[in-house]
């Protein structure tokens, strides 16, 4: 796979998610940012809704959102995988689910972004073109020997966001494959093979609230062709996609370097769009976890978001702020945001201008 032809389309930003952190959102990307708070406070909920197409221009316009960060994100994924190959694993019985996902991504990309992607099929002989990444691949569908790597790794090196595949058996879901390079502090290598309750064990409060029992029951009944989605969020210092526990001792210290002067530029709201998709052949559930990052400086350019985010952070229980990893900087974040909250009421929903 060659990235040499990248960036020919000026739509795609040439930027980094580590080192000099040149990642930035264009005004267009700020405006379509998935601000995840429909109300002025926050508490856990299953908060699932059908994954249907939404407003033109929004991140819901397409089945999979390919945005201006696509090429640089894929380059960051390749970098992380090179440093730590354990970030992509698939247990042997998950190969069919990998093909299911490859088919879904190729078909949706080609259908929704014909200017960048093309898929032609002659029976099982497929031809895939990914122009932004400079990939031209002929292969035989369901024949692993015709791809340079397994189908799951092959296709998730070309799609933004982390992906996990869950096998369904014994009335439970088992996380048995994953491509995880932009994670909010969880380890695929540790969690692979666990069932639904096991991999969620470290989450505080939610078990006692029955959140996971309800979510599992819902997901076991998930139907092919009726995907669902939800948001999750946390806070990240610098636009670092790879906040892995493996490297926590390397990125953790950056939390101590925030100051009132740099917090607007360096503190980011990290939003995960989580989608749940039943796959047709394997009956596995695919779980794309797409990460969106926005700096506080950019977030407060939308007055409604600025007011609401101040109120949300103020009401987050300390236990949750600790789990999400920003308890240390919570006071400084609140100081910063308070300057943008005049107490005026906010309209319902998350759209910036409604």
């Amino acid at each position: 796979m060659s990235l040499d032809d990248a960036f020919k389309d000026p739509f795609f930003r040439d930027e980094s998610f580590f080192g000099d952190f040149s990642y930035k959102n264009s005004p267009h990307a700020v405006n379509r940012f998935p601000f995840p708070f429909p109300e002025d406070d926050y508490m856990y909920s299953v908060n699932m809704e059908p994954h249907v197409k939404g407003r033109p221009g929004s991140i819901f316009e397409h089945y999979f959102d390919v945005d201006e960060h696509y090429v640089s994100e894929m380059r960051d994924r390749a970098r992380v995988l090179e440093q730590d190959p354990l970030r992509c694993q698939s247990l042997p019985h998950m190969t069919l689910a990998g093909w299911d996902l490859l088919e879904l991504i190729m078909e949706k990309f080609a259908e929704e972004y014909p200017q960048w992607f093309a898929l032609t099929k002659d029976s099982n002989r497929w031809h895939w073109i990914n122009r932004p990444l400079g990939i031209d691949q002929k292969f035989t569908f369901l024949d692993e020997s015709t791809l340079p790597m397994g189908p799951f790794e092959y296709i998730t090196r070309q799609a933004q966001g982390d992906f996990t595949l869950q096998d369904q058996r014994e009335d439970n879901l088992w996380i048995e494959a994953g491509m995880v390079t932009s994670q909010a502090d969880w380890s695929l290598d540790f969690d692979i093979g666990m069932n639904f309750h096991e991999w969620h064990a470290p989450v505080p409060l939610a078990h006692q609230m029955g959140i996971f029992d309800r979510a599992l029951k819902f997901l076991l009944a998930l139907q092919h062709g009726a995907p669902v989605r939800r948001f999750n969020w946390t806070m990240t210092v610098d636009p670092l996609l790879d906040t892995s526990p493996e490297n926590y001792h390397k990125w953790g210290p950056t939390k101590t370097t925030l100051t009132p002067e740099n917090i607007g530029k360096r503190q980011h709201l990290r939003v995960e769009l989580q989608t749940l998709i039943r796959l047709p052949r394997s009956n596995a559930i695919c779980f794309p976890i797409r990460c969106y990052l926005i700096s506080m400086d950019d977030l407060v350019t939308r007055p409604k978001w600025a007011r609401r985010f101040h109120r949300v952070i103020k009401t987050v229980p300390d236990e949750l702020a600790t789990y999400k990893g920003f308890i240390r900087n919570k006071p400084m974040i609140l100081d910063y945001l308070s300057k943008f909250d005049d107490g005026a009421p906010t309209s319902p929903g998350w759209w910036p201008e409604d």
Binding site: S187, F190, D191, M194, H200, P245, E246, Y248, H249
Partner: protein
């Protein structure tokens, strides 16, 4: 009651039962430390098992050594082993060769039970062929999430990773595949600021 009591219910942590005799064509029994008492109780309650029993016994890391007791039980095969690592080839071979009707019993520390469970699953043994009983030390097997090295018999929290030397706290997160808890750097954000260790897993 010498059976170890679970001190908390954690979602990713397995629960254990009591060794009780089961119908089987052969009985493979693995134990460490105080788990030897559970094995003695099992075979003394069901002496018919003895001619069909193969015991592997590993003295506890805390010094408990019931080798003499188990050797005297009269099992068809008794194999004393100094460590799990030294016995693991034998255990995997026996599990791999298992015919229908083999019953597997494991008694002792969570680290031992987890490793035998892991090897039994890998060998394709049915879930209901395995009986476990936790006895003795609550010391934990902990995998360092940073270097992936496993430190055996962790009693202190925080502790120093025996592989990479980072200061780790023991997260209540357990992987059956690795038969280990997760250890995470405790002073990542403030290097050197490590709270005093407490003996949490005696």
């Amino acid at each position: 009651m010498s059976q170890t009591q679970a001190d908390e219910v954690m979602k990713s942590r397995p629960l254990y039962g009591t060794l009780t005799p089961k119908q089987g064509s052969s009985h493979f029994i693995v134990a460490d430390g105080e788990g030897g008492d559970a094995v003695a109780a099992l075979l003394n309650a069901a002496p018919d098992m003895k001619p069909l029993a193969h015991i592997v016994y590993i003295p506890g890391a805390n010094g408990t050594d019931l080798t003499a007791l188990l050797e005297g039980l009269g099992a068809r095969v008794f194999h004393p082993a100094p460590s799990y690592a030294s016995a693991s080839q034998r255990i995997r071979k026996v599990l791999g060769d298992a015919h229908m009707g083999l019953q597997l019993y494991v008694a002792g520390t969570e680290g031992l039970i987890g490793q035998v469970q892991r090897d039994a699953i890998a060998a394709g043994l049915p879930h209901d062929a395995l009986t476990t009983e936790q006895r003795g030390s609550k010391a934990r097997r902990v995998q360092c999430v940073h270097c992936k090295g496993i430190t055996e018999n962790v009693t202190l929290d925080p502790f120093v990773c025996s592989h990479c030397g980072l200061n780790l706290f023991v997260r209540d997160h357990y992987s059956r595949r690795l038969a280990a808890f997760q250890g995470v750097c405790i002073d990542a954000e403030d290097p050197g600021e490590v709270p005093p260790s407490e003996e949490r897993f005696k």
